[in-house]
C-alpha cells in the first residue's frame, strides 16, 4: 500500500547506491525533483534506465552518479546532444559510463515484458540495424508457429522506478493524464516505485478508462508541485522549452555545469520546484 512521505524520505528508503533505477517520462511528466533528490543524497553507481534520457540524466551523469546507462535516445529533444553524456562517453569525465543501447520499440517492449512478469520481449525489429552487433542483449527467437525470426531483448526489471503524475487521492491511487509514455509499465516492472504528484485530492475524478495506478501497486507518494519542471504536467503547467534551450549552454562547460548544479540542485530543496513553474501555469 502506498505510503505518503516527503521526497527525501522516499529516496532514502527506496534508492540505494548500485541500484538499477528508472526515472521515466516520455518528454512529459519527467521526475526531475526525484532525480535531484537522488543527487543531493549522493547516491552512486546507478544503472539508469530510460527510453529518452535528456536533461536530468545529463545532470546525473555529470555529477558522477551513474555506472551504466540503458537507453534508446539520448538527447535534448529539438535542441541537440547531451553534453555531459558526451563528455563521459568521449572523454571519460567525470568517469566513463557503460552503455547499453536499444531502439524505442525494444525498450517499450522490454518494459511491458517486465510489467507482465515475462523474462524477455519478442518483437519485429532491429532488421539490418547495427545495434545488434554492439549490444549482446539484442538476440533473436524463432516463432514456434510460423518460423518467423523475431528480435528478443531481456525484460526491464528496475529495483525502483520514479515517476511524476498529476494527482493522487488519499488512498494513494495515482492518475496519469496526457502523454502517458511508458510510466505505467515502468512502475509495474519495478520492485519499488516512488510517485511525486502535483496535488493530493479527495477524488481523482477519473474517466473509467483513465490511466490509474492503484495505491496498492505503488510504494511511496510524495507531494511535489512543479516536480516535473522543466518538463511539464498536462493541465497544470506547460513545458519550459526556454529552459531546455538554455541547458545546452549551461552543460557545455564543466565549470558552468557544476556551478549550476550547486545553485539549483545541491543547495536547493524539493519545495523550490513550485516557484519554477509559476510563470508556466496553464496556459496548458
Amino acid at each position: 500500500m502506498a505510503q505518503f512521505m516527503t521526497l527525501p524520505e522516499a529516496v532514502a528508503q527506496n534508492l540505494n547506491s548500485g541500484d538499477t533505477a528508472a526515472f521515466e517520462g516520455f518528454t512529459h511528466l519527467i521526475p526531475h525533483a526525484s532525480a535531484h533528490e537522488a543527487i543531493r543524497q549522493g547516491i552512486k553507481d546507478l544503472t539508469l534506465v530510460r527510453m529518452t534520457p535528456d536533461v536530468v540524466y545529463d545532470q546525473l551523469i555529470g555529477m558522477g552518479a551513474v555506472k551504466k546507462l540503458i537507453f534508446s535516445y539520448a538527447g535534448n529533444p529539438g535542441v541537440g546532444l547531451l553534453r555531459r553524456l558526451r563528455d563521459s562517453v568521449e572523454n571519460g569525465w567525470p568517469h566513463a559510463i557503460e552503455i547499453e543501447e536499444h531502439s524505442h520499440a525494444a525498450m517499450a517492449n522490454a518494459y511491458e515484458a517486465g510489467a507482465a512478469g515475462l523474462p524477455f520481449a519478442a518483437f519485429r525489429g532491429y532488421k539490418g540495424a547495427e545495434l545488434a552487433r554492439v549490444n549482446p542483449n539484442i538476440r533473436s527467437v524463432t516463432c514456434p508457429f510460423t518460423g518467423e525470426e523475431l528480435a528478443a531483448v531481456p525484460a526491464i526489471r528496475p529495483d525502483v522506478t520514479f515517476i511524476h503524475a498529476q494527482k493522487a487521492d488519499r488512498k494513494g491511487n495515482v492518475l496519469i493524464e496526457g502523454i502517458v509514455g511508458v510510466q505505467k509499465e515502468a512502475v509495474l516492472a519495478a520492485k519499488r516505485s516512488v510517485v511525486t504528484v502535483e496535488e493530493i485530492v479527495d477524488d481523482l475524478d477519473a474517466h473509467p478508462n483513465a490511466c490509474v495506478l492503484p495505491g496498492w501497486a505503488v510504494t511511496a507518494i510524495c507531494l511535489v508541485p512543479g516536480g516535473a519542471h522543466p518538463s511539464y504536467a498536462h493541465g497544470y503547467y506547460s513545458r519550459d522549452n526556454a529552459s531546455y534551450i538554455a541547458w545546452d549552454k549551461i552543460a557545455a562547460e564543466r565549470d558552468t555545469f557544476l556551478a549550476w548544479m550547486k545553485e539549483n540542485v545541491l543547495d536547493a530543496r524539493p519545495e523550490d520546484f513550485a516557484d519554477r513553474i509559476k510563470h508556466l501555469r496553464s496556459a496548458a
Binding site: 537507453f71 529533444p77 558526451r86 568521449e90 531502439s103 554492439v134
Partner: protein
C-alpha cells in the same frame, strides 16, 4: 502563382510537404520532417494523419513542437496512446503508410546513422541514437527522408547503420526479410531524389529552381547520379510560402515565451 523570393530551406520543407497525401498515416520525425508534415496538413492534405512517437495520433498542432512530446501534440490529437501501444499496435501492426525521417549521416542507399561519428566504443561524436527510427525504417509502408545537403551529412560510407535503408542496394531488404518499401524519396535543400528502380541508389530526379548539377555535387560526398529526364522542382506557391512563414513565426513566438529559464 509561384514565388521567386524564397530560401533553400523553405524550398526543401515545401517540396517535402508535397509528397504526403491526404490519405497518408505518417509517423513524424522531429525537426525538418515535422515542419514538412505540418505544411502538408495546412495546405493540400488537411486530413493527413500525423503520428508522433510520444503516442499522439492524428495530431494538428498550431505551432511546431520543440520535442516529440510537447503538450500541444496531445491537446490537438484524436487520441493519445501509451508508448508500448504506439510501437506494438500502430507501428509494428502495419498501420503507418509513411515514416518521415531526418538524418545526421546518410549514404546513397538511404541508410541512416544517428548513433555515433567514429568508432562505436570510442566515438568522436556521440549522437543521440536511434530512438524510434530502426523500426520506423522497417515497419512503415515507405520512408521519406529530408535533410540539408552537406559533405559531412551525405557520405560515401556511414559510420554506423542505425536505420536500414536499402543496405548495399538491389534486393538487400528482401534478403533480410523486410517486406516494406524502405526509402522511396529524399528531399534536400537542393533537389528531389528517388531510388533507382534496380540498384536502389538515390538519383536526382528534380533540381530546385536556380540549382545546378555542380551545386548538388558540391554538397554531396558520393558521385551523384542524375536521372536522364531531369526536371525542375516547381517553386513554392504564395500559399505554401505564407503558410510556412506563419507557422515558423508562431513557433518562434511560442518557444521563446516566458522568461528564459535559469532553472532547467
Amino acid at each position: 502563382m509561384s514565388e521567386t523570393d524564397f530560401t533553400s530551406n523553405e524550398m526543401m520543407t515545401i517540396a517535402a510537404s508535397r509528397a504526403l497525401k491526404n490519405t497518408d498515416v505518417c509517423f513524424v520525425g522531429i525537426g525538418a520532417p515535422s515542419a514538412a508534415c505540418n505544411i502538408a496538413r495546412l495546405t493540400h492534405a488537411p486530413d493527413v494523419t500525423l503520428i508522433y512517437e510520444s503516442g499522439t495520433i492524428g495530431t494538428a498542432p498550431q505551432v511546431l513542437p520543440l520535442s516529440i512530446g510537447d503538450g500541444e501534440l496531445c491537446d490537438t490529437a484524436v487520441t493519445t496512446v501509451s508508448v508500448p501501444e504506439m510501437f506494438r499496435y500502430w507501428l509494428q501492426g502495419g498501420r503507418v503508410t509513411v515514416g518521415f525521417l531526418g538524418a545526421a549521416q546518410i549514404d546513397r542507399f538511404g541508410n541512416i546513422n544517428t548513433t555515433v561519428i567514429g568508432d562505436y566504443d570510442h566515438p568522436k561524436t556521440r549522437l543521440p541514437g536511434g530512438g524510434g527510427a530502426p523500426e520506423i525504417a522497417s515497419s512503415c509502408g515507405e520512408i521519406f527522408i529530408t535533410l540539408k545537403q552537406s559533405k559531412r551529412a551525405m557520405v560515401d560510407k556511414i559510420d554506423f547503420f542505425t536505420s536500414f535503408g536499402h543496405g548495399e542496394g538491389r534486393d538487400h531488404r528482401q534478403r533480410l526479410g523486410i517486406t516494406t518499401k524502405g526509402p522511396t524519396l529524399m528531399v534536400t535543400d537542393l533537389a528531389v531524389w528517388k531510388p533507382d528502380p534496380v540498384t536502389r541508389e538515390f538519383t536526382v530526379v528534380s533540381m530546385h529552381p536556380g540549382v545546378t548539377r555542380e551545386m548538388v555535387q558540391a554538397e554531396c560526398g558520393w558521385t551523384v547520379r542524375f536521372a536522364d529526364k531531369l526536371e525542375e522542382t516547381p517553386a513554392p506557391t504564395g500559399i505554401e510560402l505564407s503558410t510556412l512563414r506563419d507557422l515558423n513565426a508562431r513557433t518562434k513566438a511560442a518557444h521563446s515565451g516566458g522568461k528564459t529559464g535559469e532553472a532547467a
